[in-house]
């Protein structure tokens, strides 16, 4: 089980969290102007990184807030935790 550090509450077991998928995906501001290819890439295509992955977590059974983390998907080791809206840290990038 992963130990995850919520930027608001501190280190807690994985059971308190839900996974939110790849981070920093920005919803297009004018979806109607996208063609089908660009829209499907936003909806479905993911980097699926083998290496350092920026991802969202939600402290669902705690403070309820979303935040981001950097995790190496080859080892499951976390490199950084940071609040939503903050830029991706340099660590491991």
């Amino acid at each position: 089980m992963l130990l995850i550090e919520c930027p608001y509450c501190g280190e807690r077991p994985e059971l308190e969290f839900t996974y939110g998928g790849e981070a920093h995906l920005v919803r297009p501001t004018r979806p109607a102007e996208l063609d089908d290819q660009a829209w499907s890439e936003f909806l479905y295509t993911r980097a699926n990184v083998k290496g350092v992955h920026a991802e969202r977590w939600r402290h669902a059974r705690g403070c309820g807030r979303f935040f981001n983390a950097l995790r190496d998907t080859r080892t499951d080791r976390f490199l950084a935790f940071y609040r939503a809206g903050e830029p991706r840290p340099k660590a491991g990038s």
């Binding site: 839900t18 992955h53 998907t73």
Partner: protein
């Protein structure tokens, strides 16, 4: 390169010489400078594709490149369940194509894959489950796929260890039974295809990881770079399961895939106690007994993407809670080992067997948590797609472009795991 035939007679004959005359079941060739086609990924789907390329399409100058050892990925890590009771017409056609190939596979390959159509029973625990299960039964029958509805007492008669008491948290309200479903020996499927493909001239090259895909001025595939050198080929088929998006990424192709750990576990071996396969989507358990006597139990995927081939213990515990309630006699059974595999999951839980935007590059991926059952059919259709540069009618709907065009095959029955 003559194949040593396996039979009772050959076993007896070799016994006379103390079994010292058996040869290796396939060669360990050095990679050649080039091939007519290359398959990346030496699991069941890749080895099978190489076999059908040689057997049915006359392409014997074929190599299978495997970064580890053959059958060491998801082919050797799954829970060996075989069924075809999928809801949609496209899925029913695809999975039943595979299911129809299983009964003859041992004869075809001259290798005992131990296919055992002992029946797959999927439990319903809620009113919603009952409605969905009956819908599946009817949809399957319309597509010529056998499936029947059982009341709880009938389910108990088919699988006596099942607890149909009404005092449990999620009582059994009925079950859908596919009698043609069952299990097979997963390792034997990889080994059988490897041996049969090798006998037809296919080079199986282990410890050979693909590190790059070279393209010509037109953008078409011309070679792959590997840890054992550059190998030329104008046709490259990728069947790399959890690593498919990684390998396709080498050619600049992005896929609608995410890779998750999926865990399974086995108990200590015991005498035959469990006659069929039982699955429960709702409380998440599936279980069968191997011929060796171990209970083979499938757990769910972990929540996060990963390539580590391991997962968290609480995922297994969740499954064992359900197993112990449904089958109280297993409460004191000791679990022997657990492991994880990396499964590539598509947004609609249906696979992709298709051409890619790169000419000469083909992909067979996205089988998610349930690819083993489809091995012969998937391999057969992938070989067709590579050899003819166009999909077979059965896999024609399973493209990458379906996500762009909105023709999703949104298959809730894709697995018994929660997702």
């Amino acid at each position: 390169m003559s194949k040593q035939s396996f039979s009772g007679l050959s076993l007896a004959w070799r016994a006379l010489s103390g079994h010292r005359s058996w040869r290796a079941q396939w060669r360990k060739p050095q990679p050649k400078a080039g091939y007519d086609a290359i398959i990346v990924g030496g699991g069941g789907h890749g080895l099978g594709a190489a076999y059908y390329l040689a057997k049915e399409h006359g392409l014997s100058n074929v190599a299978v490149l495997e970064k580890g050892w053959i059958g060491g990925g998801n082919t050797g890590r799954n829970t060996t369940v075989i069924r075809s009771n999928y809801l949609f017409d496209e899925s029913a056609a695809l999975y039943d194509h595979a299911l129809k190939m299983w009964p003859d596979l041992s004869q075809t390959l001259n290798y005992n894959v131990m296919f055992s159509p002992r029946g797959v029973m999927m439990l319903a625990h809620t009113v919603h489950d009952v409605q969905v299960s009956k819908r599946h039964v009817h949809a399957n029958r319309c597509n010529g796929v056998d499936n029947e509805w059982l009341e709880p007492a009938e389910a108990k008669a088919f699988c006596p260890p099942l607890n149909i008491g009404t005092d449990i948290r999620y009582p059994v309200l009925g079950a859908a039974l596919q009698r043609r479903g069952g299990t097979a020996r997963h390792d034997a499927v990889a080994w059988g295809y490897a041996r049969a493909a090798d006998a037809l001239g296919v080079d199986i090259i282990e410890n050979c990881e693909v590190t790059g895909i070279r393209r010509d001025a037109r953008g078409a595939v011309e070679a792959v770079e590997t840890t054992r050198g550059v190998i030329q080929s104008r046709k490259v088929g990728v069947a790399a399961a959890g690593h498919s998006s990684h390998v396709l990424g080498l050619a600049g192709v992005r896929l609608p895939l995410e890779s998750f750990p999926l865990q399974a576990l086995v108990s200590e071996p015991v005498k035959p106690v469990f006659p069929c396969v039982v699955m429960s989507n709702t409380i998440h358990a599936y279980i069968s007994q191997s011929d060796k006597g171990e209970l083979v139990i499938g757990a769910g995927t972990d929540a996060y993407t990963s390539y580590t081939q391991r997962g968290a213990l609480h995922v297994n515990m969740h499954t064992l809670d359900a197993i112990c309630e449904l089958f109280p006699m297993f409460r004191r059974m000791r679990m022997m080992r657990n492991w994880g595999g990396i499964v590539d999951v598509t947004p609609d839980r249906s696979p992709i067997i298709a051409k890619t935007p790169v000419p000469g590059l083909y992909v067979n991926c996205g089988w998610g948590t349930g690819g083993f059952k489809a091995t012969p059919g998937s391999a057969h259709l992938f070989a067709w797609t590579i050899a003819r540069d166009e999909p077979h009618p059965i896999n024609a709907p399973f493209t990458i472009e379906r996500f762009r065009d909105g023709h999703l095959i949104d298959e809730a029955a894709a697995a018994a795991v929660a997702h």
